[in-house]
């Protein structure tokens, strides 16, 4: 039970940080910010790594392996495409 309370605590505090960190954004940065934070939400990759690496059950390992691939696409693709968007704006300026 104590673990649940600790989890809820960091969830609540991190949510407040998330609310506060986004303030005024120029409209041109809406899409890159969405894309960048989408890449960060690929953090589920860490969970996928644990699921794929532990060998308690074959089903779990297979599910974990697929999740590793999908989450890595999310992470790598996300950061690269955000970089491309930002590079495009820079050329225009």
């Amino acid at each position: 039970m104590e673990i649940l309370v600790i989890g809820l605590t960091i969830f609540a505090l991190a949510s407040f940080v998330g609310f506060e960190v986004i303030t005024k954004i120029p409209a041109t940065l809406h899409t890159p910010l969405m894309s960048g934070s989408n890449a960060i939400s690929g953090i589920i990759l860490t969970g996928a790594v644990i699921a794929a690496g532990s060998e308690k059950s074959t089903t779990a390992t297979v599910l974990g392996f697929i999740a590793v691939i999908l989450a890595t696409v999310n992470v790598v693709g996300g950061f690269f495409v955000t970089h491309r968007m930002l590079a495009m704006f820079r050329k225009k300026d």
Partner: protein, 285 residues
């Protein structure tokens, strides 16, 4: 290193990664620091993943490296080669992949846990949340891709019962959810939850107009963060909870800002066709 020391080390690395994510997100909101913000986010991710490889449950990392290699090639090639005109579809695709990855990770943990021990109720609640949010994110993103690509058949999919179908599906979802949390057969109930949530994900987004899709993708991005946080409660993993909450909250703010920029409200985007399909005639009921 003892298991306790290892856990402490991993959690410390997670703290560093979380700081990178926060500073990175902050950087992405200003034109001058945006590129650096993106680099910081990537660095945080690298730290988090490398630290996770030290996790005590990991027996053999070969499969992990293979998966990461495959995913990195697919993601890298897509991101670098694809025409900039289809970038909205690409972002929606990546987002959907993150959502469905949460569904699979939580599903894997359900299989792992229930084979060996009785699972705590709070873990099962988190499991159900991961399944619902992850599946809605995935299928919602797929429909958003179709809308961006102007696939006409999607518009014909607007069911006559409209918003009532969504309400019905949401209620229907309670059955397998309760069955899962009850804990007798959580794995099978979990996949039923995912199935119903998938249909709900399609029916929620299919009725929203193509012009509002950027806002919908921003909202789905926020949801994929929440799915990761829910999975964090299943795995009791700090970095998933922190980062998921961070993306969930910041994504919601961004969604609101984007709505305002388009002179729309989030409610009008999500429920705009409410009343145009005959369902408003029941006002007096």
């Amino acid at each position: 290193m003892s298991n306790e020391a290892l856990d402490a080390f991993i959690n410390f690395a997670y703290l560093i990664a979380a700081i990178f994510f926060i500073v990175g997100l902050k950087g992405l909101t200003h034109p001058r620091t945006a590129v650096r913000g993106n680099y910081l986010g990537g660095t945080g991710m690298l730290i988090a993943v490398v630290a996770t490889l030290l996790h005590r449950d990991i027996v053999d990392p070969k499969l992990i490296f293979a998966g990461i290699a495959i995913g990195a090639v697919i993601g890298g090639v897509l991101a670098v080669k694809i025409d900039m005109k289809v970038v909205p579809q690409l972002v929606a695709t990546f987002n959907g992949f993150g959502g469905i990855a949460s569904v699979f990770v939580a599903g894997a943990e359900a299989v792992r846990d229930t084979e060996s021990e009785v699972v705590a109720t709070q873990t099962l609640v988190a499991l159900v949340a991961s399944g619902i949010i992850g599946a809605v994110t995935f299928w919602g993103s797929l429909v958003a891709i179709g809308k961006f690509s102007e696939l006409d058949f999607l518009d014909r999919l607007k069911f006559p019962v409209g918003q009532w179908l969504n309400a019905f599906l949401a209620l229907l979802l309670l059955l397998p959810a309760a069955w899962c949390i009850n804990g007798t057969q959580p794995v099978m109930a979990y996949w039923l939850v995912v199935l119903v949530a998938s249909i709900l994900g399609v029916s929620l987004v299919v009725r929203i107009g193509g012009a509002d899709m950027p806002v919908v993708v921003a909202l789905l991005n926020s949801l994929s963060g929440l799915a990761a946080a829910a999975t964090g409660f299943v795995l009791q993993n700090n970095i998933l909870i922190i980062t998921g909450a961070l993306v969930g909250a910041s994504g919601l703010i961004l969604t609101q800002i984007m709505c305002r920029a388009m002179n729309r409200t989030l409610v009008s985007v999500l429920f705009t066709s409410f009343g145009t399909d005959g369902s408003s005639s029941q006002d007096d009921a």
